[in-house]
Amino acid sequence: MIPMIDWLIFSSLLMAVGAYGVLTARNGILVLMSIEVMLNAANVSLVTFSAYSTELHGYPDAMGQIFALASMTVAAAEVAIGLAIFLVLYKRHDSIDVTKINILRW
C-alpha cells in the first residue's frame, strides 16, 4: 500500500501548481483551470485522510469522501459560471487576458 505521506505530498504539490497558475497565468481560461487544479488538490487530500482514517484514528470514516463529492459538484458549478463570465468579458473587452483588463484601479 502506498504510504499516506506520498498522497499528501502529491496533494500539496498539486495545490502549489494550481496556486502558481492562478498567480501567473495571463489567459483567463488558464486561471480557471488552475483554480480547478487547486480544488482537486484539496479533494485528493480529503479522500486520502478518509481512506487512511482507520490507521489515523482507529475507525473508518467516510465523511471526507462525501466532502470530496460535494466539492466536485461545487467545482462544476464554478466552471460554468466562470466560463460565462469570461464569455461576457470577451464580448466587452475583446480579450480574456486578465492582466490587460484593468479599468478599476486606484
Binding site: S11, M15, G18, A19, V22, G28, V31, L32, I35, M38, L39, A41, A42, N43, S45, L46, T48, F49, S50, S53, L56, H57, Y59, D61, M63, G64, I66, F67, A70, S71, V74, A77, E78, I81, G82, A84, I85, F86, V88, L89, K91, R92, H93, V98, I101, N102, I103, L104, R105, W106
Partner: protein
C-alpha cells in the same frame, strides 16, 4: 448515542432556507409567464419578510412557542446543523439586507433585462449565507460559502453591457475561487487531524496534531481572510465593490462579508478551540492591520463608492477584535467566560449595525446614480440644498460608521473596545489585548477625517445647480428603514445587545463540554 433526527424535524428547522429557495425558484417564472417587473421585487420582499419575522419570533422568549418547529433538540455532536440564537441573529441580518436590496433594485436595474434571474440569484445568495450561519459541520460551511459566492459572482456581472461590471465579476470570480480552494484545503487538514467534519467534535480534538493543524489554520486565515477582505488579502474588494451594480455592492459589503465573519467565528471558536493560543495573536495583528490600512487608503479616495469600500475593509478589522478577545475563554473562570461572550456579542452587534449603516450609505449613492449623478466626491457638493433628505441620511450613516455617540456605530464599537480592555485587565487575560482597543479608538478618530470630507462637501460646498433631486419612493423607503434602524439601535441598544449576547452564548454552547 442520541437518536438521529427525523425527516420532519429537518424540514422544520430548515423551514427558513426552504421557503427562501421556493421563493427564489419562482422568480424566473414570474418574469417569464406573468411578465412582472416591479412585482418580482415585491414577491422577494414578501418572502424575505416572512423568513425574517419567523426568525425574530424565535429569538424573543415570549413568542417562541409560535414557531416551535424552528427549535432543534439534536446535540451538536451528532448534527450537521446548529440552529440556535447565533444562526437566527445572522439570518435576520442577511434577510434584512436582502430585503433592502430588493427595495432599491427595481428602479436601479430597470434598463436591464433578466429581472427574474437577478432576484432569484439574490434570494439564493441569502439562502447560502444563512446556511453558513446555521452550519454545524465543515461541509455545510463550505457549501454555504460556495452557494452564496457563485450567485454573487453572477450578480456582480449583472450589467453585461457595462465594462466595469464585467471586469469586477472576473476579479471577484478569480479571487473567490482561489480563496475557496485554499479554505477547502485548510478544512481537509482539520478533517485529517480530527477525523471528523463536525465542528463540536473537532473542538474536542487534542493539541497533539501541531504542524498539520497549524498549516490548516494558516490556510483558513488566508481563505476566509479573502472572503472578509482582511488586509493583506483585501486588494480585490475596492475594485469589485466599485465595479459591481451599487445594489449588489450593498449586498457584498453588508451581507457577504458578514457570512465570512460567521464562518470565521464558527471555525475558529468552535472547531479550533484547542489551538486558540496559536491563532489569537495572528488574528489580532490582522485586525490592527486591516483597520489601519483600510482607513489610511480611504482618506485618499475621490470616489465615494470606493471610499466606502475601504471603510468597510476597516470595519471588518473592528469586528475581528472579537476573536482574539474571545481567546481568553477559560471554562474554569466564570469571569473570563463572561468576557469572551461579551467580545463575541460586540462582534455580532457590530455585524448588525454595520449591515444597516453601510447598506444605507450605498443606497444614497444608488439614489444619486439613478438620477444620473456620478460617484465622485464633487457630485456630492451642495447636496443639502438639492436633496436635503439624502444629505441628512448620508450624514447619519457616515457619522454612525465613524462611531459618533447617539448612533448605532458608537454603541457596537464601545462594546468591542471595552471587551478588549476587560480582557486585558482581568487576571488570566492577555495584556496585549489593550492594544486592540487603542488601535480601534485611534482608527475611529482617523476615519472621521474622510467621513467629515463627505459631510463638508454636502453641507458647505456650493451646489453645481439648484435643481431639486427627486428620489424614487422605493429607494427612499429603503433609506428610511436603514436610517431608523441606525438611530434606533443607538438610542435603545439593550434589546439588540441582549440578542447578540444570546447569540454569543449559543456559540459557546456548541463547544465540547469537558
Amino acid at each position: 448515542m442520541a437518536e438521529t433526527a427525523t425527516a420532519a424535524e429537518y424540514f422544520g428547522v430548515l423551514m427558513p432556507q426552504i421557503l427562501l429557495l421556493i421563493f427564489a425558484l419562482l422568480c424566473p417564472a414570474l418574469d417569464l409567464w406573468l411578465k412582472m417587473r416591479r412585482g418580482i421585487a415585491y414577491w422577494v420582499i414578501i418572502g424575505l419578510t416572512i423568513v425574517g419575522v419567523m426568525e425574530i419570533l424565535a429569538l424573543i422568549p415570549e413568542t417562541q412557542n409560535l414557531v416551535p418547529f424552528l427549535f432543534w433538540e439534536q446535540p451538536p455532536e451528532t448534527s450537521i446543523f446548529a440552529v440556535n440564537a447565533f444562526s437566527m441573529v445572522f439570518t435576520v441580518v442577511f434577510v434584512f439586507v436582502g430585503a433592502l436590496v430588493a427595495f432599491v433594485s427595481p428602479d436601479y436595474i430597470k434598463r436591464e433585462r433578466n429581472h427574474g434571474e437577478y432576484y432569484a440569484l439574490l434570494l439564493i445568495a441569502v439562502t447560502g449565507m444563512s446556511f453558513v450561519a446555521t452550519a454545524g459541520d465543515l461541509i455545510v460551511i463550505f457549501l454555504g460559502l460556495e452557494i452564496a459566492g457563485i450567485s454573487s459572482y453572477a450578480l456582480t456581472g449583472f450589467q453585461k453591457s457595462v465594462k466595469r461590471s464585467t471586469e469586477a465579476a472576473m476579479k471577484y470570480f478569480i479571487v473567490g475561487g482561489f480563496s475557496s480552494a485554499i479554505s477547502l484545503f485548510g478544512m481537509s487538514l482539520l478533517y485529517g487531524a480530527g477525523g471528523t467534519t463536525n465542528l463540536t467534535e473537532l473542538g474536542a480534538m487534542g493539541a497533539e496534531y501541531g504542524p498539520i493543524v497549524l498549516l490548516g489554520i494558516a490556510m483558513l486565515i488566508i481563505g476566509l481572510g479573502f472572503k472578509i477582505a482582511a488586509v493583506p488579502f483585501h486588494m480585490w474588494a475596492p475594485d469589485v465593490y466599485e465595479g459591481a451594480p451599487t445594489s449588489i455592492t450593498a449586498l457584498l459589503a453588508a451581507a457577504s462579508k458578514k457570512m465570512g465573519i460567521a464562518a470565521l467565528f464558527k471555525i475558529f471558536i468552535v472547531a479550533l478551540l484547542a489551538y486558540k493560543a496559536q491563532w489569537d495573536l495572528a488574528i489580532g495583528i490582522i485586525a490592527i492591520l486591516t483597520m489601519t490600512v483600510g482607513n489610511l487608503v480611504a482618506i485618499q479616495q475621490n470616489s465615494v463608492k470606493r471610499m466606502l469600500a475601504y471603510s468597510s475593509i476597516a470595519q471588518a478589522g473592528y469586528i475581528l477584535i472579537a476573536l482574539p478577545v474571545w481567546a481568553v475563554y477559560d471554562p474554569s473562570s466564570p469571569e473570563l467566560v463572561r468576557i469572551s461572550e461579551y467580545a463575541v456579542a460586540g462582534g455580532i452587534l457590530h455585524v448588525i449595525t454595520h449591515a444597516a449603516m453601510k447598506s444605507g450609505a450605498f443606497f444614497v449613492i444608488l439614489a444619486l446614480t439613478v438620477r444620473g449623478f456620478g460617484e465622485n466626491l464633487k457630485d456630492f457638493d451642495g447636496l443639502s440644498k438639492r436633496a436635503p433628505f439624502l444629505a441628512l441620511a448620508m450624514a447619519i450613516f457616515v457619522l454612525s460608521l465613524a462611531g459618533i455617540p447617539p448612533l448605532a456605530g458608537f454603541y457596537s464599537k464601545f462594546v468591542l473596545f471595552s471587551a478588549a480592555i476587560f480582557g486585558s485587565s482581568e487576571p488570566g487575560g492577555a495584556s496585549w489585548l489593550v492594544w486592540l482597543a487603542i488601535a480601534g479608538i485611534l482608527n475611529s478618530a482617523l476615519s472621521l477625517f474622510y467621513y467629515a470630507r463627505i459631510i463638508k462637501s454636502m453641507y458647505i460646498h456650493n451646489p453645481q445647480s439648484q435643481d431639486r433631486i427627486k428620489v424614487p419612493p422605493l429607494i427612499q423607503a429603503a433609506i428610511v428603514i436603514a436610517m431608523i434602524v441606525t438611530v434606533f439601535i443607538g438610542l435603545y441598544p439593550e434589546p439588540f445587545l441582549e440578542g447578540a449576547l444570546e447569540a454569543a452564548r449559543a456559540l459557546n454552547g456548541l463547544l465540547p463540554i469537558g
